[in-house]
C-alpha cells in the first residue's frame, strides 16, 4: 500500500474548473492520511507544473502520484515521464479523466459533476495505493530477418534489409523467384517486361553476401517469438549437379524424353520434366521432376553425372529476430462451366491470355485458329455479393484494358469488347481507359443480377448481355474468344503460414494487419509483419510500398538490438493454477504453455508473446490469472472508490471559479496551446484552419482557443469571406 501519495487536480484553464470545484476537491483530499500533497493547478501539463511535480516527488518522497485532468489518451506518457524523471516508477502513477468523462459531459450539472469527480479521484487514489512498480520487459533481438515469399514484395524487402547490414533469409516455395510478375509479360504503367523486373532484382540480391536465398523451400516449424524466432525449413532438392556446365545441362534438357502440361504457361503448352519456368528464370539452374524420370532408368544412367536422383531433402534450422510474410496471392480459377470455362472452346482467363500472348509474338493463334476478336468479361470471381470473394481485386480492370492495348499494338487487326460491371482504372491508370476507348474498343455494362451468357454458334462464340449503357437492351456479341477477367484470391496454402505464425486472417481470408490506416503492415504478433498482395489485392507499386514500410519497421527493430515490451501482461498464481488448459485455449497469441513448477504442472506466460489483452483472466476457473495494473485489488478498489460517499458542499451560485489572476506566463501554457500557437505564428486563422494545420481535433481546438481568448493570449480578428468563422491571431500584448 502506498503511504505518500501526491494528488494533482487540473483546472484546464476553466475547461474543468468551470464545472468541477477543483479547489474544494484538493482541500478535501489533503485531509487524508496517505495524501502528502494535494494541489489544484491551472494546467498540469505545462512545463512549469511538470517541474513542480518532479520537485514535490523528490522533496516529499512521494511513493505514488494521481493526476486528475484530461483523458489518458493525451498525457499518459507525459506523466509517466514526469514520474520517471523524478525517480518514481512510472507505473506508480494513475491518470484520472475528469475532463472528457466528467466536466464536459456533465457541464449541465456542476454540483453532480463535482460529486462524480470526487468519486473518480477517490478511485484513482485507491488504485494507485495498490499499484506495483513494474519494469519494461527487455527482449534481445537477433539481427536477422526471415522473408517468406520471393515475389516482387519479398525481393525488394530483402535488398533493403541487407543494405542496412542485416542478415536476411529469403525463402521461396517455387524453384524460381519472382512470383506472379515473372508470368506477366509487359506490365501496366511502366511497360517493362515482368521478367526483366525480376531479373534486375535477382542480380541486386546476388550482390549481397548477407542474403541467403532458399528456393524450393517451405517453413515446417516455428517456435520462439519476437527477437528470436526459431524456424525449421525444408529444402527440396533440384536433382541436378550444379557443377556441370550449362551447355551439357541444356543438351540433357533437350534430350529429356518426357513432357507434361506446363503449369507456368497455365497448361497452354507442354514442357520437359527437366525444366526452367522460362529460359531466363532464376536461379539459373534447371530442376528435375525425379518422380517422372524414374521410369526412364536408361536415360538417368546415361546422364548420371548430370542427374542426381538420390539427392535428399534437407532440413535447415534458422534463427530470425523478425519475420516478414510476402506470400502473395492466387489467381481466381473459374469453376467448370462458369461463363463456359472448360466447357466451351475458346473461353480462357486473362492470365492465360497473357501467357498466350507471350508465346505468340506475331499472330494470336489459339486451338489452331487465328483470333480476330475478343470479348472480355470483367469481375469474374470478384465482388460476388453472395459468393466468398466480396472484395474488388483492383488490378483486373486495368490489366484487361492494358492487355487490350497490347493486343492492338502487337497484332494490329483485332477487335476488343469489354463487358464490365464498373471500370475501376483508379489513379493514373485512368489514361489507359481513355486510350482504349480511342483505339475503338467497345464497352458494355452488365449488372450482377443479369449476368452475361455465353453460347457457341458454329465457329463463333455469342455473348448475350443486357446492356445497361443502352437502357438494358438485350445484345448479342459475336466473338472468336471470350476472356474471363479473373481477380486475385487469398492463397490456398496461406492458412499454413497463418497457423504457424498465428497471423489472423480477415473475413476476406487475406492476412490481417492491426489497423488498415494506422498500422498497415504490423500484425498482432510482435515481430511479424505482412506486405504485398498477401494482405489483399495490390498492384506492384502498392506491393512494394507496403514492403518498404514493413522493411523500415524491421530495420528500426533490428538496429536497436532489443525490444522494450510493456510490462502490462498476464501472470499466473502458481498455487491456484491446476493446468486445466482453459486459458491456453482462448489465447490467440500462444502465450500460455504448460510448464513444470516445483513438481506441479501449471500455466506459464511467455512474456514476449503475451499481448496483455486479459482474455485469459475471466476464463480461469481458479481465478489464477491477473493482468498487471488490472489486478482484482486495483479494480475492486476503484469500484469502491466510485461508491465512496463523499460529503461535498454545494457552492453558492454554482461553481464558477474563473481564476483571479488573468496573466499566465508562457511556461505555464499547456502543451496544446503551444501546438496551436505554433500554427498561428504568422497571421490569422479560423478554427478549422488551425485544426487542419495542427492535426488536432477541431472540438479540442475550439475549447482551447476559447480559453486562450479568455486569458487574452489570442484575440479575434474579423470573419472569413463566407462569414462563417472568426479569424483569431496571437495577441502581441500577451508577451
Amino acid at each position: 500500500m502506498k503511504e505518500r501519495i501526491g494528488v494533482y487536480i487540473c483546472h484546464c484553464g476553466g475547461n474543468i474548473s468551470d464545472y468541477v470545484d477543483v479547489e474544494e476537491l484538493s482541500k478535501m483530499f489533503y485531509k487524508e492520511d496517505n495524501i502528502v500533497v494535494s494541489k489544484n493547478v491551472m494546467f498540469v501539463c505545462a512545463d512549469s507544473s511538470q517541474k513542480a511535480m518532479i520537485a514535490d516527488i523528490q522533496e516529499y518522497k512521494l511513493d505514488a502520484i494521481v493526476v486528475c485532468s484530461c483523458s489518458p489518451k493525451l498525457h499518459l506518457h507525459t506523466f509517466r515521464n514526469v514520474a520517471a524523471c523524478a525517480g518514481l516508477n512510472p507505473f506508480n502513477y494513475v491518470q484520472v479523466n475528469i475532463r472528457e468523462q466528467c466536466s464536459w459531459p456533465h457541464s449541465d450539472h456542476p454540483h453532480e459533476a463535482t460529486v462524480k469527480a470526487a468519486g473518480l479521484i477517490r478511485a484513482g487514489i485507491n488504485r494507485v495505493s495498490h499499484s506495483e512498480s513494474l519494469e519494461n520487459i527487455e527482449i534481445e533481438v537477433k539481427k536477422s530477418a526471415l522473408i517468406i515469399g520471393a515475389g516482387v514484395a519479398g525481393m525488394k524487402a530483402a535488398i533493403e534489409l541487407a543494405r542496412s547490414g542485416n542478415e536476411v533469409f529469403l525463402v521461396e516455395k517455387d524453384y524460381f523467384v519472382g512470383g506472379h510478375i515473372a508470368q506477366k509479360g509487359q506490365l501496366f504503367m511502366s511497360d517493362q517486361e515482368g521478367k526483366d523486373v525480376i531479373t534486375s532484382l535477382y542480380h541486386e540480391i546476388k550482390k549481397y553476401p548477407n542474403i541467403t536465398l532458399f528456393t524450393g523451400s517451405t517453413i515446417e516449424k516455428v517456435s520462439g517469438s519476437l527477437g528470436s524466432f526459431h524456424i525449421e525449413l525444408k529444402v527440396k532438392p533440384r536433382y541436378i549437379n550444379p557443377r556441370v556446365d550449362k551447355q551439357t545441362v541444356k543438351s540433357v534438357m533437350d534430350e529429356c524424353p518426357i513432357e507434361i502440361d506446363d503449369p507456368f504457361n497455365l497448361g497452354l503448352v507442354k514442357r520437359k520434366v527437366i525444366y526452367k519456368n522460362y529460359p531466363e528464370a532464376l536461379p539459373d539452374l534447371p530442376v528435375v521432376d525425379a518422380e517422372a524420370l524414374k521410369v526412364f532408368p536408361d536415360f538417368v544412367a546415361k546422364y548420371k553425372s548430370v542427374l542426381n536422383l538420390t539427392e535428399e531433402e534437407q532440413i535447415i534450422s534458422l534463427m530470425a529476430g523478425s519475420v516478414l510474410v510476402t506470400t502473395g496471392y492466387d489467381d481466381y480459377l473459374p469453376k467448370e462451366g462458369e461463363f463456359g470455362y472448360k466447357t466451351l472452346e475458346n473461353v480462357i482467363t486473362l492470365p492465360e491470355l497473357n501467357r498466350l500472348m507471350e508465346l505468340n509474338p506475331n499472330k494470336l493463334v489459339y486451338g489452331g485458329k487465328e483470333i480476330k476478336s475478343i470479348a472480355f468479361i470483367y469481375c469474374v470471381g470478384s465482388r460476388q455479393s453472395k459468393g466468398e470473394n466480396r472484395f474488388c481485386s483492383r488490378q483486373c480492370c486495368t490489366s484487361a484494358i492494358y492487355t487490350s492495348l497490347q493486343l492492338k499494338k502487337k497484332y494490329k487487326d483485332i477487335q476488343a469488347y469489354h463487358i464490365y460491371r464498373d471500370i475501376r482504372t483508379y489513379g493514373k491508370q485512368e489514361v489507359l481507359y481513355e486510350q482504349s476507348s480511342k483505339q475503338g474498343d467497345l464497352y458494355f455494362k452488365y449488372e450482377e443480377k443479369e449476368m452475361p451468357v455465353i453460347e457457341r454458334e458454329g465457329k463463333s462464340l455469342i455473348v448475350k448481355i443486357k446492356d445497361y449503357l443502352t437502357a438494358r437492351k438485350q445484345l448479342e456479341i459475336e466473338t472468336d474468344m471470350v476472356v474471363l477477367v479473373t481477380g486475385m484470391m487469398p492463397r490456398k496454402d496461406a492458412l499454413q503460414i497463418s497457423e504457424l505464425f498465428k497471423i489472423p486472417v480477415g473475413s476476406d481470408r487475406f492476412f490481417n494487419e492491426i489497423h488498415p490506416k494506422l498500422k498497415p503492415v504490423e500484425t498482432v504478433i510482435k515481430g511479424v509483419y505482412i506486405a504485398g498482395a498477401c494482405q489483399g489485392p495490390k498492384n506492384i507499386t502498392e506491393s512494394v510500398q507496403s514492403s518498404l514500410a514493413a522493411t523500415s519497421k524491421i530495420i528500426a527493430l533490428l538496429k536497436k538490438g532489443s525490444f522494450s515490451a510493456d510490462p502490462i501482461i498476464a501472470r499466473i498464481d502458481m498455487d491456484a493454477c491446476s493446468w486445466c488448459d482453459k486459458c491456453a485455449e482462448v489465447c490467440d497469441y500462444s502465450a500460455l504453455k504448460m510448464i513444470e513448477m516445483n513438481g506441479k504442472m501449471v500455466a506459464g506466460v511467455n512474456k514476449a508473446m503475451c499481448a496483455g489483452c486479459g482474455i485469459c483472466a475471466p476464463v480461469c476457473p481458479e481465478n489464477a490469472i491477473e493482468i498487471a495494473q488490472y489486478t482484482d485489488k486495483e479494480i475492486e478498489a476503484m469500484i469502491d472508490g466510485f461508491l465512496a460517499k463523499l460529503e461535498i458542499n454545494e457552492k453558492e451560485g454554482g461553481s464558477d471559479s474563473t481564476p483571479k489572476e488573468s496573466a499566465i506566463r508562457m511556461e505555464e501554457y499547456p502543451q496544446v496551446w503551444k501546438e496551436i500557437l505554433a500554427v498561428m505564428k504568422d497571421g490569422k486563422y479560423t478554427i478549422p484552419q488551425i485544426a487542419e494545420n495542427s492535426k488536432l481535433n477541431s472540438e479540442l481546438v475550439t475549447y482551447h482557443l476559447m480559453t486562450m481568448n479568455k486569458y487574452g493570449i489570442v484575440v479575434p480578428d474579423g470573419m472569413d469571406d463566407k462569414e462563417m468563422y472568426y479569424y483569431y491571431k496571437e495577441n502581441e500584448d500577451s508577451h
Binding site: 472528457e100 466528467c102 459531459p105 449541465d108 490467440d588 489483452c613 483472466a617 475471466p618 488490472y630
Partner: protein
C-alpha cells in the same frame, strides 16, 4: 458502472464529452485493454456494493486482440448472469453493446436507455 476499452470504446466515450453530449453523472467508467478481460467477479463486486447496473462497452468486430472477442464478452455476460441469479440480482442489470471509437451519441443513448430500464426494475 461501465467497462470500456482503451483503444476503441473509451475514445468513443471521450468523444461524447468532447462534444458536450450529456449523459447521467452517475455513470462511472473503468477502461481495460479488451472487453473480453472483464472478470464476472468484478461485475458482482460492483452490483453487490451499490451500483444499479453494469454496462460493457465491447469492442465487437473491431477488437485488435481476437476475432472472437464478441463471443468471449458474451460468455462473460452469461456467466455473470448465472452468478447474479444465484444472488437474486435481476439479470437485466447487466448489458453489453459494441461501441466504436467515434460512437459518442450511441454511448449517450445507451446510458439513457439503460438508466430507464434500471429505474423500472424492482428485482
Amino acid at each position: 458502472m461501465v467497462f470500456s476499452t482503451d483503444k476503441i470504446s473509451d475514445p468513443g466515450i471521450d468523444q461524447a464529452g468532447l462534444r458536450k453530449i450529456h449523459y447521467s453523472p452517475s455513470v462511472y467508467v473503468i477502461s481495460l485493454p479488451c472487453s473480453s478481460g472483464v472478470k464476472p467477479k468484478w461485475i458482482m463486486h460492483a452490483l453487490e456494493n451499490g451500483f444499479d447496473g453494469v454496462f460493457i462497452a465491447a469492442d465487437g468486430h473491431e477488437c485488435s486482440f481476437s476475432s472472437r472477442c464478441a463471443e468471449y464478452t458474451n460468455k462473460i455476460v452469461e456467466v455473470s448472469q448465472q452468478l447474479m441469479k444465484a444472488k437474486n440480482i435481476n439479470p437485466k442489470r447487466i448489458r453489453m453493446a459494441a461501441l466504436c471509437s467515434v460512437c459518442a451519441e450511441p454511448f449517450a443513448n445507451h446510458m439513457e436507455n439503460f438508466g430507464k430500464i434500471l429505474a423500472n426494475l424492482e428485482d
